[in-house]
């Protein structure tokens, strides 16, 4: 295994593009090192992005949005008052990942690029309308977060492409992420749900709803958002929201959650997350 420490994403991309064997990018390492140590994946080239200037930065952009570098840890997001105020759901979702020790190292970009359908930060990012900045052999492009995972462990990134940062729009309303786990801490989502919405007075003017762990990829559920828009979160639209969320589910059936359970809980969590997001949007 060759260990690389490039000082730009262009160099990181060039190393990956030229590599003939298995390549992994290293940020927090909380997934890559587990795979390495359990002999699931032994990269021929391991490309550590933490020496690249700016990868640890949380920066507010000119339009009020946020740019979060590829190596920003969960603990660093929790410590950032401005980001927490603008996107509490995204920050709380990331904070749910692993233990205190994992929070020191884990990153949202790693959570996204590991490709797990149960990744906690990804539904929150999708609900928030986040985009990823991707550096590749043909230059830099932006993609919606929901377009990046294509299946468990699989991404739409081409050979040599690397995510350099995630971009959140200016905080315009409220967001929330909830997950169901059978314990209180240190577990993988059985269902996760992110909701982001904006209000004009009491009326919801825009919304995005995302589900995790109920399909091969994290889902953006347009019908669930439609149920919310124009409503004041009364009983009827909440029931429509739950029905739309449950209808979008295509989950696995395992000891951690049956198909019936996951499908039902998706609707319950969507309602609860929508209520939190609604209150935050009105605050």
């Amino acid at each position: 295994m060759r260990y690389h420490t490039p000082d730009s994403f262009e160099d990181a991309s060039a190393i990956a593009a030229a590599a003939s064997g298995t390549t992994r990018f290293l940020a927090g390492g909380t997934d890559v090192l587990v795979q390495l140590r359990s002999d699931l994946v032994e990269p021929d080239d391991l490309i550590d992005v933490k020496h690249i200037p700016g990868v640890k930065d949380i920066a507010q952009t000119a339009d009020g949005g946020w740019r979060i570098g590829a190596a920003v840890s969960g603990a660093e997001m929790m410590a950032h008052a401005g980001l927490r105020a603008a996107w509490p759901g995204v920050v709380e979702a990331t904070d749910l990942i692993g233990s205190t020790q994992i929070q020191t190292r884990c990153t949202m970009v790693g959570n996204l690029c590991n490709g797990s359908p149960a990744a906690d930060s990804v539904p929150a990012l999708v609900a928030a309308g986040a985009t990823a900045t991707i550096v590749g052999p043909n230059g830099t492009r932006e993609a919606a977060v929901e377009d990046i995972p294509t299946g468990p462990g699989r991404l739409s990134l081409a050979k040599g492409e690397v995510v350099s940062a995630l971009n959140l729009p200016a905080g315009h309303g409220g967001d929330a992420y909830l997950r169901f786990i059978p314990r209180t801490e240190m577990d993988i989502a059985v269902v996760g749900c992110g909701v982001s919405l904006a209000r004009d007075g009491d009326v919801i003017t825009s919304a995005r709803v995302s589900l995790g762990a109920v399909a091969p990829t994290v889902l953006l559920v347009a019908d669930a958002a439609t149920a919310l828009i124009g409503s004041r979160l009364e009983e009827a639209p909440l029931a429509q929201l739950a029905a739309a969320a449950s209808a979008a589910c295509n989950p696995i059936d395992d000891k951690r959650g049956t198909i019936k359970f996951r499908t039902h809980v998706a609707g319950v969590l969507a309602q609860r997350a929508a209520k939190i997001a609604y209150d935050r949007a009105g605050a």
Binding site: M1, R2, Y3, L26, G29, T30, L33, V34, L36, R37, S38, E42, L46, D48, K50, A75, G98, S99, T100, Q101, I102, T104, R105, E185, M186
Partner: protein, 157 residues
């Protein structure tokens, strides 16, 4: 092989390691610092916890090569010479350990907590230590030792 310079418990160290070696491998097998333990090797149990930049880290989930330029504290660096850290004193007093495999990681993780938050609630201590598994004590004695240490350290601050 990769050459790495780092600071561990205040002392400068230089070592050479294979790129696949974790920081835990390096600490135990190359530097003779066997306080950090390998429990699971996958970041679940916390027995390998060390402190870097004031935060606890699983040294099994970090490469030795990533330690370049870092300041690392292991359980060996917690006591001041022969004087035990108040956490160590209270872990003995409360019998907050039996087999002892988890203890180095819990001491390092808890020291980082009390430096960040000198007055944690019991709930905060329990959540902070969610990534430190102990199969002997049932945790209660650990929590009591931590709470008493926090109170003592606040009085003496």
């Amino acid at each position: 092989m990769i050459q790495v310079s780092t600071t561990i418990n205040g002392d400068e160290h230089q070592f050479v390691c294979d790129p696949r070696e974790t920081l835990l491998d390096v600490l135990r097998d190359r530097l003779g610092l066997t306080g950090a333990k390998e429990g699971c090797g996958t970041g679940d149990c916390g027995a390998c916890t060390v402190e870097i930049g004031g935060r606890p880290v699983c040294s099994c989930l970090m490469l030795g090569a990533e330690a370049e330029g870092k300041e690392i504290t292991t359980v060996e660096g917690i006591a001041d010479g022969e004087d035990l850290h108040p956490l160590q004193v209270n872990f003995i007093k409360h019998a907050a350990l039996q087999c002892g495999i988890c203890t180095p990681g819990i001491l390092v993780a808890t020291k980082a907590l009390l430096e960040e938050n000198p007055n944690p609630t019991e709930t905060e201590v329990r959540y902070w230590l969610a990534g430190n598994l102990c199969r002997c004590t049932g945790y209660d004695k650990i929590i009591r030792a931590v709470m008493e240490t926090a109170a003592e350290m606040r009085e003496n601050a």
